[in-house]
Amino acid sequence: MTDLKLYQVGTFAAGNRLLDPAQRTEQSSGERSNSITSGHRACRGCGEALGARVVLDAAMHATGGRMVTVNATGCLEVFSTPYPESAWRVPWLHSLFGNAAAVASGVAATLRAQGRDDVRVVAQAGDGGTVDIGLGCLSGMFERNDDVLFVCYDNQGYMNTGVQRSGATPAAANTANTRPVGTRVGNAFGTGKSLPVIAMAHEIPYVATATVADLHDLEAKVTRAMSMHGARYLHVLVPCPVGWGTTSADTIRVARLATESGLFPVFEAEDGEVTGVRPIRRQVPVEDYLRLQTRFAHLFSGEGRPDVVARLQRQADRSIAHFGLLEEAAR
């Protein structure tokens, strides 16, 4: 049975001054580490920049500032470290695209060998560096149960190189190499993989999904993850205004619609079993979500492709059924 968490007392503000201080977010605190500080070169409305800030500040809080991070090649790494400047206020290592998990495993190994394992390791990568090129190293880290929290910021494509398709790109999405030309509807149905489910198959101590639409939930999951040891995986949906074709002001709204439509299930799992879900409070048809993004505009222009939309709706319905996202919550 899942507890329904209610944070809002009044407005939607992250801090919400009417909340008990203990329930406020780290982001609302003046004491937050600001792990990635302002001045970086992210696009306006970048979901990943927001996600990284929330995740790392929560991790810094949870670990008393005893944390180092390893970052794969990708948007986050590129926009945060334009030599000679760096936006990082935490120890930060960038190596390559596909090896964040292996590098992080190496960092954790040295810390352990030197008796410094009060210092915790967080690896960060985009969806490309996680589900495609990073999968081998990540699976290795999982099966060894190395003491690393791996965070995937999923904007569903290779955004930094110009919006190409990844193994996390949803069906029917228009990307630079899955354009809806000829008879193609965009990214093919029947492809793609769910890294959270793959992570669960490794039976690692903790797997969770989250989005930047619910900062309380995201922070809570980071905190929970950092209270554990061993291999842990957090998959965060982070809309990309450029790649998704959303307005920069819609980032959080679009992320919320992704969960409320059922297309992006939000859940937690431990040792391979789902332990809790964030129920959908007000289910929305997938169309409400898709119409906000020009990467799906081809489904609605002219006569549109109602068959494709229906197929996406069926995907959402299956996800809702599988994870029990509309079940009555026990209180």
């Binding site: 990082w88 120890p91 190994a109």
Partner: protein, 422 residues
């Protein structure tokens, strides 16, 4: 203390005594006995507090070493051939980030065709990756070089690969004086990381460098490698002072003093060459050898001086620069250019074909008799008949010169022929 032990085992024990914090292990022939032995040694506490990471690939291995080293630890791995290629992306990453990682490369041929036996094509393929490359000519040199490698890497902040001929040395059992802990400690001080991921002093490692600064960074990296030319000898001197053994340094030589024909080579074939030199010397032929111990950075001055007195140099290449010629040979050629020495480039020992004393002896005699070109790449042990048949079968409208070259067991090279005297 000398004992009869397998090369791989001796290397593993030496590495353990160097006190790595992290050993990343992925198996590939012919390095397997090294990582297997290290697993036991680490488990038995004979490597100090060491984490033995069984990674999922060689790319994972080098990546883990990068993380381990950046976190302020002493990191080690071993590989060969295809494994070295699989981590190719991570090699210049390690050198570019100035991480003092040490790696054993159990030299093995690169496929295709797949071949598990010894040649130098793997190490050669990564000669520009910014790593120091040391070549061991014997198992004693191999173990001694590993101690020196850690010291060198940490002194310079440049990663080092120690190349040891696969199977030929790694699987040979012979008398080796495995460095004791006191010797290691005398040569290798405790690691003082030049950079370290530490919450007490946060730094950003691995920023993105654009056109306005990249050249300067690369210049400094190349400069660091060149400083190795002095450091290699310094560390070798320290090792000699502590052990009485002369294993290390930029080059080694055998009966080079008054040699008129010199064989230049890397690795274990130098032992065979020394035997042949003795035979020839007994017959009055002034032969000698020059071994290159430090291949990268290339010891230009030392090699030039060493070969100054020779009229003929024979370079034994155990790898090919396909489409261009030789690799070791071209470095030697450049080094002696402008002088009277002729350089005879031969390709031998590819894919584990043994370099026999008989073949080497005949080769030297052929060079002395003017039968080996100094402007083509000669393959003295090529099965010319088989190759010619295959060319005749497959090459339409064949270029006569190409076929003729094969018949002579040679490949044309871009180097100009000697001017004919009129």
């Amino acid at each position: 203390m000398r004992r009869q032990v397998e090369g791989s085992r001796a290397i593993a024990e030496t590495v353990a005594r160097c006190g790595p914090d992290v050993v990343a292990a992925y198996p590939i022939s012919p390095q397997t006995h090294i990582v297997e032995a290290l697993s036991d040694l680490v488990e038995l506490g004979m490597a100090g507090r060491c984490e033995y990471l069984m990674v999922e690939s060689e790319f994972g291995a080098m990546s883990a070493c990068i993380g381990a080293s950046a976190a302020g630890g002493r990191a080690y791995t071993a590989t060969a051939s295809q494994g070295l290629l699989f981590m190719a992306e991570a090699l210049p990453n390690a050198s570019g980030l100035q991480l003092p990682i040490v790696m054993t490369v159990a030299n093995r041929a690169l496929g295709a065709p797949i071949n598990i036996w010894n040649d130098h094509s793997d190490a050669m393929s990564q000669r520009d990756a910014g790593w120091i490359q040391l070549f061991a000519e014997s198992n004693q040199a191999a173990v001694d070089l590993h101690v020196q490698a850690f010291a060198l890497a940490e002194q310079l902040s440049v990663p080092v690969m120690v190349c040891v001929d696969g199977f030929v040395l790694t699987h040979a059992m012979e008398a080796i004086d495995v460095p004791e802990q006191e010797l290691v400690d005398a040569v290798l001080p405790p690691l003082q990381p030049a950079q370290c991921l530490d919450p007490a002093a946060p730094i950003t490692i691995g920023a993105m460098v654009g056109p306005e600064a990249f050249t300067e960074v690369k210049f400094l990296e190349a400069h660091r490698q060149l400083r190795a030319l002095d450091a290699v000898q310094e560390v070798a001197d320290r090792f000699h002072a502590a052990s009485g053994r002369d294993s290390g340094g930029l080059t080694s030589s055998y009966r080079l003093e008054d040699a008129d024909v010199v064989v230049v080579a890397l690795g274990s074939v130098l032992g065979t060459a020394a035997d042949v030199v003795d035979e020839l010397r007994d017959e009055g032929v002034p032969a000698g050898t020059l071994g290159i111990t430090c291949f990268r950075p290339w010891p230009f001055d030392e090699v030039r001086e060493a070969l100054a007195g020779a009229s003929q140099v024979i370079v034994l290449n155990r790898a090919l620069a396909v489409g261009s010629g030789s690799i070791l040979g071209q470095d030697v050629r450049l080094t002696v250019s402008g002088g009277p020495t002729t350089v005879h480039d031969v390709v031998v020992g590819l894919g584990g074909r043994p370099v026999t004393r008989h073949m080497l002896r005949r080769l030297i005699e052929d060079v002395r008799a003017g039968r080996i070109s100094d402007h083509a790449l000669t393959f003295p042990d090529l099965d010319v008949e088989t190759v010619s048949k295959e060319l005749a079968r497959t090459v339409d409208g064949a270029d006569g010169a190409a076929l003729a070259g094969a018949v002579l067991g040679q490949l044309a090279t871009p180097w100009p022929a000697e001017e004919e005297e009129t």
